[in-house]
C-alpha cells in the first residue's frame, strides 16, 4: 500500500475528521478547517482529499439518515479507521521525535 505517508492537507483533514467525530461530512470539515486555521478552501478539494483517504483506508464513510434539508440529499459521514488512527499517531510521534531533537542541535551550534 502506498498510503504510509500522508500529505499536509491530508493530515489536516484526517485530524478534523477525528475531531468532529460523528459529525464529519465535507461541508462541516470545510467550516472546521476555516475556523481553526482560517484557511479558505474549496469544498471540491475536501472531497478529493476524502476520497483519497478512503481509498488508502484511513477513513470509512457511511450515508446519514434521510433529511429534508440540502434538497433532500443525505450526508456522507466519515470516521477514522484503525489505520487512520495509527497513521495520525505515527505522524505525531515522528514530529515529536524530531521536535525533541531540535533545541539540542540549536544549542550546540550557538
Amino acid at each position: 500500500m502506498r498510503g504510509e505517508h500522508i500529505g499536509e492537507l491530508e493530515e489536516l483533514v484526517l485530524l478534523t475528521v477525528g475531531s468532529l467525530y460523528k459529525e464529519a461530512y465535507a461541508v462541516a470539515i470545510l467550516d472546521e478547517i476555516l475556523e481553526n486555521t482560517s484557511r479558505k478552501m474549496d469544498v471540491t478539494a475536501i472531497h478529493s482529499v476524502l476520497r483519497r483517504l478512503e481509498k488508502k483506508g484511513f477513513v470509512t464513510s457511511e450515508m446519514g439518515g434521510a433529511t429534508n434539508e440540502r434538497g433532500g440529499r443525505r450526508k456522507r459521514f466519515f470516521s477514522l479507521t484503525q489505520a487512520g488512527r495509527r497513521v495520525i499517531e505515527d505522524t505525531m510521534e515522528l514530529r515529536l521525535t524530531l521536535y525533541n531533537k531540535l533545541p539540542k542541535l540549536a544549542f550546540v551550534s550557538v
Partner: protein, 899 residues
C-alpha cells in the same frame, strides 16, 4: 426527488453534475454543493450563490469523481484509444507515404491559412466598432441628366447640422476631414496628416482614449488629440498631455495643446489618422460661404442612428429635407428638381469592400479579389486532401488482410470507417499543428513577397476553429478511402483473391481534378503576369525614366485658385534657377498634374449646341511637354517667352480634338460660349496620363487657366492644382538627386518641409492591388505545384510497387528503361491531358472577366496554354522518372525471386 424550497441552484449545472458523477458519490456531493449554495442564498447573495455553485460543479469534475461504468468505459472510448494507437503505428510503418501526406497537407494548410488570414483581414475592416451597425456614411449624388452626374462620398459641411436638427432618428452626426499641414515650429517642421473632427467623434467611433481628458477631449478649439505612436514620435517618454504643438492652419502657426492620447488605430480601420483637432478650426480654413454651400464637398459625414431606427426612413426623406432647406438655390437655369439631389447612406462596415460608391478618404479593396483569393485558398486545400485520398485508397490493397481479419472478428462497417477516419484525422491534426506553426513563421516572408500586411492574432477560441478545420480536413481527406476499405468483401480477401481497390474512375477523376486546379493556377499566374508586364511596358506616350517630382507650395494668403496656381509657379521658378546649376539635372518643368494618378481635375461646360461636355485640364509651363517628350500630332508646343502662349494658347490631346468635333483644331476655339480669349495652337498624340484601367479622356493643356475657368460650369475635385516641379536626373546615383533637391529646397523655402516622389513609382503604384493579387496567386500556384507533385510521387510509387513483378519480367525480356518509363507515364499522361484540356475554357472564362477591369489589356493567347501545359508535363515527368529510374535499377532477380 428534492423538495425545493426557496431558490434551487441552476438546473443545467446540476444536470451536468449528474451526467459525469459516479452515482455512488453523487448524492452527498450534490447535497454538499446544495448546502453551500443555500448558505449564500440565506445571506441574500443570490448571484454569488449561483456562480459559486456552477464553479464548484466544474471544480468537482475530477478523475476521482467520474463515472466509471457507462460513458467512459464503453467500447466506443476503448476503440477510439485503440484506433489512435493503430493509426499512429500505421503512419509510422509507412514513413514514405505518411510524410508525403503530411507534407502535402501541411503545405495545403499553410497556404489556406495564409490566404485565409489575408481574406479575414479584408473582411474584418471596421468591424471593431461596437456601434458599427448603427454607423453610416452619407453620400451625395447630384444628377442633372445627360450624364451630368456628380457622385461623392464626401458631403457638404452643412450636412452635419442638417442631419442633427432635421432627423430625430439620428443620435449623432460627426464629420471628418483630412488635411496636410506643417506641424512643429522652427527647423523641424514635418508635413503631417491633420484631421478636423467633430467634438463628439470619439463617442461614435471606438478609438479608445487612453490618456488625458477621455470624456471631452476636443472641448476647446486649440485642443489636439494624438495617437500613441505620435505621442512617442513627438515627445518620447515625456508625458504628452498638456504639451503644445504648432500647426500651420492658414499662413500662421497656431499652438495646440494636447488634451488626450488615443490608442493607435488598428490596421483594419478605414479611418486612419494620428492627429485630430476640433472641426471648429474649419472656420479659419473655409470661407463662410463654404459652410452654407450645397455643392461644395470635403468632409465625410457619418451618422449614428438611434437604436431601432431604420436608415431607409432617413434616406427616403433626406432629399426632400435638403430641397426644402435649399429654397430657391439653383443649379444652372432653374431651381433644383426632385431627383437631382440624392442623398444616400452606406453602412460603415460596407465601405472597405464596396467599389460602387466613390472613394472617400479611405482606400477600398476589390471584393472580387477577396473572393477569388478565398476560393483559391480552398482549392489548394482541396488538392492537398485529394493527395491523401488517392494515396490512401491506392494503398488500401496492402491492408486488405487487416480488414478481412477485423471483419471476421466481428467488426461492422461503421467501426471500420471510424477506424480509418481516425487515421486521417490524426494525420490532419498533425498537419494542422505543423501548418499553423509554419504559417506563423512564414508570415513575415509572405508579407515581404506579396506586399500584404497580415499578422497573426491568436485568441483562445481560434484554437477551436483550428481544431475544427483540422477535423474537417481529416474527414474530407479520409472519407473516401474509409468507404473503399471498409467495403471489401471478407470472403474475397480471405480466399486470397484480388481486391478491387475502389472504383478506379473515381480516383482517376480526383487526380484529374488535382491536375486541373494546378494547370489552371499556372495559366492564371502566367496571364496575370503577362498583363502586369503589358501595363508596365506599355508605351504611355511620354518619358518618365528617372523623373523626380516635388509638390510646390502656394502663398497661403491667396484665396483665388488661379492666383494660388500662379504663386506656385513663381515659387517653382525660384527652385528651378537653383537646380539648373547642376549639370546632372535636366528637363526641369512644372505642371499642375503629374502622371501616376487618376485625379487630374475634371471640368465641364455646356457647348454651343447645349450638350454637356467634360474634359480634364492640365496647366503647365513651357518646358513640360518637352520634358516628358510628348509628341505633337499637329501644330506646335508652347514656346518660352511667348506672351501669347502665356496668356491664351491652348493645346488639346487627340481625344479632345475628336470629342469636341474639331476638324481643323489648330487655329480654332473650344466649342463653349463663355470661354475667355483663347486659341488652339496644337494637338498632341494621345498619351496615357491616368491609369490603364480607364480609356484616355479629353485633355486641355494651357499655361494660363483663367480663360478656361471663365467658360466652365462645373468642376469636380481631384488632385490639388498647385503645380509640381519635375526634373530628370542623369547622374549615376538616384539618392544624390534627392539630396540635391533637399539641399536646394531648404535653401529656397526654409519654412516648408521638402517632399519628393519618383514618377515611375507612382505609375507602378496604380496597379498595386493587381500586382499583389498576382503575387498572392503566384504563391498559391507554386505551393499547389509542390502538393500535386508530392501526390504524383506517391502515386507512381504505388503503381511501381504493384508492378514490381511485371517490371522485373519485362527487364528480363530486355525492355529498355525508356520503354518502362513509357509504360508508367502512359496512365498519368492521359489524366494530365484531360486536365489541361478542361482547364483551358475555365481559365479563359475567368481571366476574361479579370481582364475586363482594364481598358488596355492583353488577349489570352493559345501559346500561353502551351507554356503552362509544358510546365505541368515537365514537372509530372520529372516526378515519374525519379521512381522509374529507381525501379529499373533494381535487379530483376530481386523482384522475381520473392514469392
Amino acid at each position: 426527488m428534492s423538495e425545493v424550497h426557496e431558490i434551487s441552484p441552476p438546473k443545467w449545472a446540476s444536470r451536468f453534475l449528474k451526467w459525469y458523477c459516479d452515482p455512488r458519490l453523487l448524492e452527498d456531493l450534490e447535497g454538499d454543493l446544495y448546502e453551500i449554495h443555500q448558505k449564500y442564498v440565506d445571506q441574500d447573495r443570490k448571484s454569488k450563490a449561483k456562480w459559486t455553485y456552477v464553479w464548484l460543479v466544474f471544480r468537482s469534475f475530477r478523475l476521482s469523481a467520474l463515472k466509471r461504468n457507462q460513458k467512459f468505459k464503453n467500447s466506443f472510448f476503448a476503440m477510439t484509444k485503440n484506433n489512435f494507437k493503430i493509426a499512429m503505428r500505421v503512419l509510422w510503418r509507412d514513413k514514405f507515404n505518411s510524410s508525403i501526406n503530411l507534407l502535402g497537407l501541411t503545405i495545403g494548410i499553410a497556404c489556406f491559412l495564409l490566404l485565409g488570414l489575408y481574406v479575414k483581414q479584408e473582411l474584418s475592416y471596421d468591424q471593431f466598432h461596437l456601434k458599427k451597425d448603427r454607423i453610416f456614411r452619407s453620400w451625395l449624388k447630384e444628377d442633372y441628366g445627360e450624364g451630368r452626374i456628380f457622385f461623392n462620398s464626401q458631403t457638404p459641411l452643412r450636412f452635419e447640422e442638417m442631419f442633427e436638427s432635421n432627423f430625430p432618428e439620428v443620435e449623432k452626426t460627426v464629420q471628418y476631414i483630412e488635411l496636410n499641414r506643417l506641424v512643429g515650429r522652427g527647423e523641424n517642421r514635418l508635413n503631417e496628416k491633420v484631421t478636423l473632427i467633430s467634438h463628439d467623434f470619439f463617442e461614435v467611433f471606438d478609438f479608445p482614449l487612453i490618456d488625458g481628458d477621455t470624456q471631452n477631449p476636443l472641448e476647446g478649439k486649440d485642443n489636439l488629440v494624438i495617437s500613441q505612436a505620435f505621442a512617442k514620435k513627438y515627445f518620447g517618454d515625456r508625458d504628452p498631455i498638456g504639451q503644445t504643438l504648432g500647426i500651420q492652419i492658414n499662413n500662421e502657426i497656431s499652438d495646440f495643446t494636447i488634451s488626450a492620447v488615443f490608442a493607435d488605430i488598428p490596421y483594419e480601420s478605414s479611418i486612419q489618422f494620428d492627429m485630430g483637432i476640433s472641426a471648429e478650426n474649419g472656420r479659419d480654413i473655409y470661407s463662410e460661404r463654404t459652410y452654407t454651400a450645397w455643392f461644395n464637398v470635403s468632409p465625410e459625414t457619418y451618422i449614428l442612428l438611434k437604436e431601432n431606427a431604420s436608415i431607409t426612413s432617413i434616406s427616403e426623406k433626406a432629399e426632400d429635407v435638403a430641397l426644402g432647406l435649399m429654397g430657391d438655390t439653383s443649379y444652372g437655369d432653374g431651381p433644383m428638381q426632385k431627383g437631382q439631389y440624392n442623398i444616400g447612406f452606406q453602412p460603415l462596415t460596407d465601405i472597405h469592400l464596396n467599389p460602387d460608391i466613390p472613394l472617400g478618404y479611405a482606400p477600398v479593396s476589390n471584393p472580387q479579389y477577396v473572393f477569388i483569393l478565398a476560393a483559391i485558398g480552398i482549392l489548394v486545400l482541396i488538392i492537398a486532401c485529394i493527395n491523401y485520398t488517392t494515396l490512401s485508397a491506392g494503398q488500401s490493397l496492402k491492408r486488405s488482410k487487416e480488414v478481412g481479419m477485423r471483419k471476421v472478428l466481428g467488426a461492422v462497417r461503421g467501426t471500420l470507417i471510424y477506424q480509418y477516419l481516425s487515421e486521417s484525422m490524426v494525420l490532419a491534426l498533425f498537419a494542422m499543428l505543423i501548418g499553423t506553426i509554419a504559417t506563423f513563421l512564414l508570415i513575415p516572408t509572405f508579407n515581404l513577397l506579396t506586399g500584404t500586411e497580415i499578422f497573426f492574432q491568436f485568441e483562445w477560441w481560434h484554437a477551436l476553429v483550428y481544431l475544427g478545420i483540422g477535423l474537417l480536413i481529416g474527414l474530407m481527406a479520409g472519407s473516401y478511402p474509409a468507404l473503399v476499405i471498409s467495403g471489401f468483401k471478407t470472403i474475397n480477401i480471405l480466399r486470397g483473391g484480388n481486391q478491387s481497390t475502389g472504383k478506379l474512375t473515381a480516383r482517376k477523376g480526383l487526380v484529374i481534378l488535382q491536375f486541373l486546379v494546378t494547370v489552371f493556377l499556372i495559366s492564371t499566374t502566367l496571364i496575370m503576369k503577362q498583363q502586369m508586364q503589358f501595363l508596365q511596358n506599355k508605351d504611355l506616350g511620354y518619358d518618365y525614366e528617372a523623373v523626380i517630382s516635388t509638390r510646390l507650395n502656394a502663398n497661403p494668403e491667396l484665396r483665388r485658385t488661379s492666383e494660388r496656381i500662379t504663386s506656385g509657379f513663381a515659387n517653382g521658378e525660384l527652385l528651378k534657377t537653383k537646380l539648373e546649376k547642376y549639370p546632372e539635372i535636366t528637363k526641369i518643368a512644372m505642371g499642375s498634374h503629374m502622371f501616376g494618378t487618376s485625379g487630374w481635375i475634371n471640368l465641364a461646360f455646356n457647348d454651343d449646341k447645349g450638350d454637356f461636355r467634360r474634359f480634364r485640364l492640365l496647366i503647365v509651363d513651357a518646358a513640360y511637354l518637352n520634358a516628358f517628350e510628348i509628341k505633337m500630332k499637329e501644330g506646335r508646343k508652347f514656346e518660352f517667352e511667348n506672351g501669347l502662349d502665356q496668356r491664351q494658347s491652348v493645346i488639346l490631346n487627340q481625344t479632345a480634338a475628336d470629342y469636341f468635333g474639331l476638324e481643323n483644331p489648330v487655329g480654332s476655339k473650344l466649342p463653349g460660349p463663355d470661354f475667355g480669349e483663347h486659341q488652339i495652337i496644337g494637338v498632341t498624340e494621345d498619351f496615357h496620363y491616368s491609369s490603364l484601367h480607364s480609356d484616355i479622356e479629353p485633355l486641355v493643356i494651357v499655361m494660363n487657366p483663367v480663360p478656361i475657368f471663365e467658360g466652365i460650369s462645373d468642376a469636380d475635385g481631384g488632385d490639388s492644382l498647385i503645380p509640381k516641379l519635375v526634373f530628370t536626373y542623369t547622374g549615376p546615383n538616384l539618392l544624390e538627386a534627392t539630396e540635391i533637391l533637399k539641399r536646394e529646397w531648404e535653401a529656397t523655402f526654409p519654412n516648408e518641409s521638402w517632399n519628393y516622389e519618383f514618377i515611375d513609382e507612382r505609375i507602378k503604384a496604380q496597379y498595386e492591388s493587381e500586382a499583389r493579387m498576382n503575387k498572392l496567386i503566384g504563391v498559391a500556384t507554386v505551393l499547389s505545384i509542390v502538393i500535386a507533385s508530392l501526390g504524383l510521387l506517391g502515386l507512381t510509387m504505388l503503381v511501381i510497387n504493384s508492378k514490381v513483378k511485371e517490371i522485373g519480367i519485362r527487364k528480363v525480356m530486355g525492355a529498355s528503361p525508356s520503354s518502362l518509363f513509357k509504360l508508367l507515364a502512359k496512365g498519368f499522361s492521359i489524366q494530365l491531358i484531360i486536365a489541361i484540356v478542361l482547364s483551358v475554357p475555365i481559365t479563359i472564362w475567368l481571366m476574361d472577366k479579370w481582364l475586363a477591369n482594364f481598358a488596355y489589356r492583353i488577349d489570352i493567347s493559345i501559346g500561353l496554354f502551351f507554356v503552362s501545359s509544358l510546365i505541368s508535363i515537365i514537372v509530372a515527368f520529372l516526378v515519374i522518372s525519379y521512381h522509374t529510374v529507381r525501379a529499373t535499377k533494381v535487379n530483376p532477380v530481386e523482384s522475381l525471386r520473392s514469392e
